[in-house]
Structure formats: C-alpha cells, structure tokens
Assembly symmetry: C2
Homo-oligomer: 380 residues x 2
C-alpha cells in the first residue's frame, strides 16, 4: 500500500428535513450574507428551494440568487457569478443542486480571490483561499459535495478541465435523499455511472491496497443494487439513501486511499467528448468509454482485472464481466458506444487531438496516441 494523506473536513448532514439546519449552521459559521447558486429550476419543484429560503430567513441570513447553471458548467457563467459575488459582498457561496451547480460554486469561491479563475484550471495560479462553500445536494453522482474538486468547461477553447484544492471542500453539505425521489431515472442512472467510474478510476491502481479494494467492491455492489431498486421504485427511501451515501463515498478520498492517484483516462476522454458536444452528460460519456477501456486493457493485462470480475460480478472471466457491465448500463438506458451517442466517425480525429494534450494519458495504464485511437475505435 502506498503512503497517503487523508483529510476531509466537510461536515455532512444527511437525511429527511436536514435543510432546516442550514441557516443556523451558516450563522454559527459566521455567515450573514451569501450568494445562492442554482440550476435550471428543478429545485423549485422538489421543494429544496422553499426549504432553503425558509431556513436562511429564520437564521437572518441575507442572500442573492443566480440561476441557470447548465450541465457541463461554463467558464463564462462562473466569471459572471464571480462579479456578482464581489458586488453583493457575499461571505459564502451556497450551491443548491447537483455536481454542476456545486462545481460552479467552488470555482466562484476560489475565483473571487484570483486575477482570472481559469488560471487555476490551467495550473498557472494556485488557490490559496476561497469563500466558504455550503451545498444542498439534489442529484447524487458527482461526489462534489464532499471533495475539493471542480470541473469547468471553457467553450471558447473547448477545454473541460478540473481543479482540486483543500480550500474547496464544502464546509457543510446537506444530503436529503427525499429531494431525489422525483428525478427522472436517466438522471439517477447518469449519477450511478459517474460514481461507478470514480471508483473504477482508482480500483485498478494498486492490487496491494486490500482495505481500499474491498471497500470499493462494497461501494460498487451497493450502487449497482440500489440503482436497480430505484429503476423499479423511485420512491424507495432506503434505496435512495444508500445510493446517495455510496456515491458520496465514491469520491471523498476513501476510494482512492493507497491507489497512486488513480488512472483518470476515461474522465479525460469524456471531458473531450463533452467539450465538443456539451449536450452529452458526464454519465453518458463515461458509459460509452468505460466498458471499452476495461475490455481494451484486459486484453493486454488480464490479471489486473480478475479481482474486479470475481468480486463485483462473480465471474471468473473478465470479458464476461465486461459484458455484464455493458448489459447493466444498457438496462439502465445508457448508451454504451460512441456511435449511440451520435458521435460521427470523422469527429474521432478531433476528439483524439483534444484528448492528447500530453504524450500519454492515464496514471495507472499509460496510453499513447495510437492506443487511445484503438480504444476510441473499440468504443465506437
């Protein structure tokens, strides 16, 4: 097992009606004025918005609102909100929504202290401080509610890049699973795919980290089983709660302990796909890439994949396990090929160029341009 540092100071308040605590928690954290960031309006329907406003008002916390953060959140929007945040004098950023909203909030929280926030994403500037981030999670999957990472898309340069900082861990995240019971199933499936990929980006990193491997197998099985349950019965509270908590743990540090930082090829490829086609959600892109990635690599190094096949799918054969994974994703309504995502064959070269900003990609299995091309063909 590799040496590691584990530090996750985010407080989680989980369960029904936990939003009632939000205002007092912010008040106790010294906040009197915040900017509330939201997406396309679903929080008005699921009840989150009314509960949040009620809790803020009861605690005497002033706020202003910014709406319309999109899936694959945009740099232009982040820049706009940074200006509003400064103008309003907000002392905290409150995200009410899913991963896109939370990532936007984190970029804003850091951005108010930076000359240009994009510099932090292209690694020209280090994040040394940020406004405190509070979140109310309404879609599980990204794990952003309990980590220090954010992914933002620069449409002009077609770059979907990420940043990580200890200053970006939310101070408090509220996870009320009942808010998710009205989600269309495809959003739950996207979230499941996202969380599964977070675990698998780490999982093959170190066969000696038994403690992390067994925990990750537990998380994978719980996510798969609860997604199946939610497909049949979206109102099953316990399935929703166990799903939500497992997806949080999938990217809060735990799943990566001793795993050499993970691989992240599939995320890199998906980021290129969705930078080119912002309509492709993160879960959709990953579903098209991840099974092909395992299939491609398992031909080269089959032994690395035996444990996953056995412990997650109860299969002795890796190819059969990949087939089980593909069938599962298709059963959830996810496309498992680039063709099914309506990518055109003549776009593959452009996608390849966008992926290969370094000579190889992948922290665990290093792939060069030829190998990534072969992988894209297999995923097509």
């Amino acid at each position: 097992m590799e040496a590691f540092t584990f530090y996750n100071p985010t407080k989680i308040m989980f369960g029904k009606n936990q939003i009632t605590h939000l205002g007092r928690q912010m008040r106790n954290g010294g906040i009197k004025k915040c900017i509330l960031i939201a997406g396309q309006g679903s929080i008005r329907e699921n009840g989150a918005y009314d509960q949040v406003i009620d809790s803020l008002e009861k605690a005497g916390i002033k706020h202003t609102e910014v709406w319309d953060v999109e899936v694959n959140p945009r740099l232009a929007k982040v820049r706009e909100i940074i200006e509003q945040t400064k103008e309003y004098g907000a002392e905290a950023v409150l995200a009410v929504g899913g991963g896109s909203v939370i990532d936007t909030a984190k970029a804003v929280a850091a951005g108010v202290y930076l000359k240009d926030v994009w510099n932090a994403f292209v690694h020209k500037e280090i994040i040394k401080q940020a406004l405190p981030v509070y979140t109310v999670l309404t879609i599980s999957g990204s794990g952003s509610e309990m980590n220090g990472g954010a992914v933002i898309t620069n449409i002009d340069t077609r770059q979907k890049w990420s940043v990580t900082s200890q200053h970006l861990y939310p101070r408090l995240s509220i996870i009320d699973p009942t808010l998710q019971k009205t989600l269309p199933f495809n959003q739950t499936a996207n979230g499941a795919m996202d969380a599964i990929s977070h675990i698998l980006e780490f999982y093959f990193g170190n066969e000696k980290a038994l403690s992390t491997l067994t925990i990750n197998e537990a998380l994978l099985r719980t996510i798969i089983d609860t997604t199946d349950l939610l497909q049949k019965e979206p109102h099953d509270y316990d399935a929703r709660a166990n799903f939500a908590w497992s997806t949080t743990l999938a990217l809060n540090g735990l799943s990566g302990v001793g795993m050499r930082g993970g691989d992240w090829s599939c995320h890199g490829i998906d980021h290129a796909l969705s930078a080119l086609h912002p309509g492709i959600s993160h879960g959709e892109g990953l579903a098209a890439i991840l099974p092909a990635w395992i299939e491609y690599l398992s031909e080269k190094e089959p032994a690395r994949f035996f444990r996953w096949a056995k412990c997650v799918w109860d299969e002795e054969n890796v190819i059969r396990a990949v087939r089980r994974l593909r069938n599962k994703l298709e059963g959830w309504g996810l496309a498992t090929s680039l063709r099914d995502l309506s990518i055109k064959p003549d776009e593959l070269d452009q996608i390849l160029d966008m992926i290969m900003v370094t000579p190889t990609i992948g922290g665990v299995f290093k792939l060069n341009e030829d190998e990534v091309r072969a992988l894209l063909m297999l995923a097509y």
Copy 2:
C-alpha cells in the same frame, strides 16, 4: 437508513517515514511548545521516539515528556499530566503510542479547561474546548487516532467510563505501519479484536443501511485476513498497512453511519471486567464476551444475524458462524470465556452490579439484569 451527521476533521498522514512531517505540521498549526505523552517505553525500541524528537527539533518545537501511561489508562495519571501541562504552558498534547496513550492525551487536552476532568466522563460538565491533540500511532486497534472519544478508568470508584467530543478529534495523526512490525502477536490480536468489536457494536443496528453494512463486511474481512497474515509474517508491510487503515476506519464514524449509535453492550461489560481486573486488556475482555453476546441474542432473534453469518463467514447457520469466530479468536491466542480470563465464579455478581448502572444496557438489543446475568453465565 437513519439520519446522521458525519464530520471527521482529523488529518491522517499514513506510511513509512511520515513522522518526518510531524514538526512542520505542528509548526504550521501554530504550535511552539507541546507535552509529549508516552507509555511504557516501547517507542524507544521501535524507533518512533527518536524520529519524533528529531522532527520536533528540526521544526524548533519545544517539548516536555511524560511516560508510563498504562493499559486501561488511569484518571490519577490524567490529573497528574493536566497539572504538568498547565505548568509547562504546552500549546498542544502529542501522544506517541497506542489507544491508552491517545485517550490519556485527549483527556488531558480537555482537562486543562475543566474544573475536574472526571466531571466530563460522568456527564456533569460539557467539553467546550481542548488543546489540539497530535498523535503518532504505534499500535492499531482502538481507532482513537481518528475519533473524538476517550476511555479512562477511575480506580478508586472502579469506573471505566468514556467521553466523546468534537473538540477531541486529533488535529493530525501519523500512522506509520512499520512501527508495528516488532509488536508481539498478542498485541496485534488484541487490536484486531478491538476493531472487530467496534464494527459489530454498530453492525446489527439497522438492516436497512446497506451501504454501511457492505463496508463493514469489507472491513471485517480485511481485518480477519490481515491478522491471519500477520500471525504468520509480522513483517509483511502490506498486511500491516491494510490492517492499520481498516482498524482506523472501524471507529472513525464510517462504520456507524445510519446505525442508530450502535449497541455497546459488549464494551460496557468489558469495561466492568477491566475496571475490576485492570490487567485484562480491552481485546481480551471483548474476546470473552462478544461471541457469547451474538450466541445469546441469535437464539432470541436469529434473523438479525443471518446476514453477518453469510457475508462475513459464508455460513447459512448463525451458530456455525459464532463457532468460526470463536475458533478464529482462539487461533490468534485469545481466550474466549470469562473462566479462561481467570474470573472467579463468585465475582460475577459484583461484575453484574458494575454493569447495571442503568436498568437496561445496549442501544440496539436492550438487556435487563436477568438477561445480562444469563449472558455472563454463557460467557463463563
């Protein structure tokens, strides 16, 4: 799944040579002067002491030392160290050792701000602040390195009681598994028993918390498997590292998520045993009680124990799973009955009196005096 709050701000630095970071970490935390607390001297032999002193000196941190904290740490010693801490003007408490040393350090850290530290244990006084606690772990098992709890024994009143506070989470814990390679196996076995019992105190609390159940099964299997490996090969670094990390996770909050606070009967009974016989280690007491506790309860509510039998021991039958557990503990050299711990039959009434300070014990399975007597007989 029950509502819960998860908050664990302890930073963990894990792996070989991590002690070199200690001094700078303390310095960055604003500490210039600390009190170092240690046990019977094993840290001079395993190398921890020299590394700690070197790191403190390089960072220019002054310190004073207190030695001779015992297993089942004593209130009298805590009181003594509180006075020394005040006198020296220490700004932090640094524990170098196992759970007894860390628990002592926590009690000291809180005690400097209390009129009488024991008041916090008997719930007459709330801990509102504490000195920062830093730890260098040299024996895994208690989990104290990553939680806010401490257990102290008052010899005069024969009370072994615990306290929990968010102010008692260590600010930083360093876990270097190489320090444990020279431990006698019985100490590893005691630590394994302690961690297993932490998980099982929670495990039967809520059959709907699937995410926590599957993680706890993973932790149990890893602890059992790595203890077996360490019995054969104490120098196996990966076994030691996976063992260490799993025992930390067994009581850092993760294993109790959605579990209604757990049961804690076995800990309560063990605390009575070792308050009467301070020579009985925590792991030894638990090994004598825990299998009997499962056996006793599974006769009343067998269905509650099926999942444990199946998922941890691959057994359809609970009694066979209990037998497997007992055989495993005996294979590790642990006594699994009160008789084998040299408890005398005529002491059982006194032990029962010490246990039953409330009409029933157990947060999940409430046991009255008659039931606890029957359980003690079964454990005898």
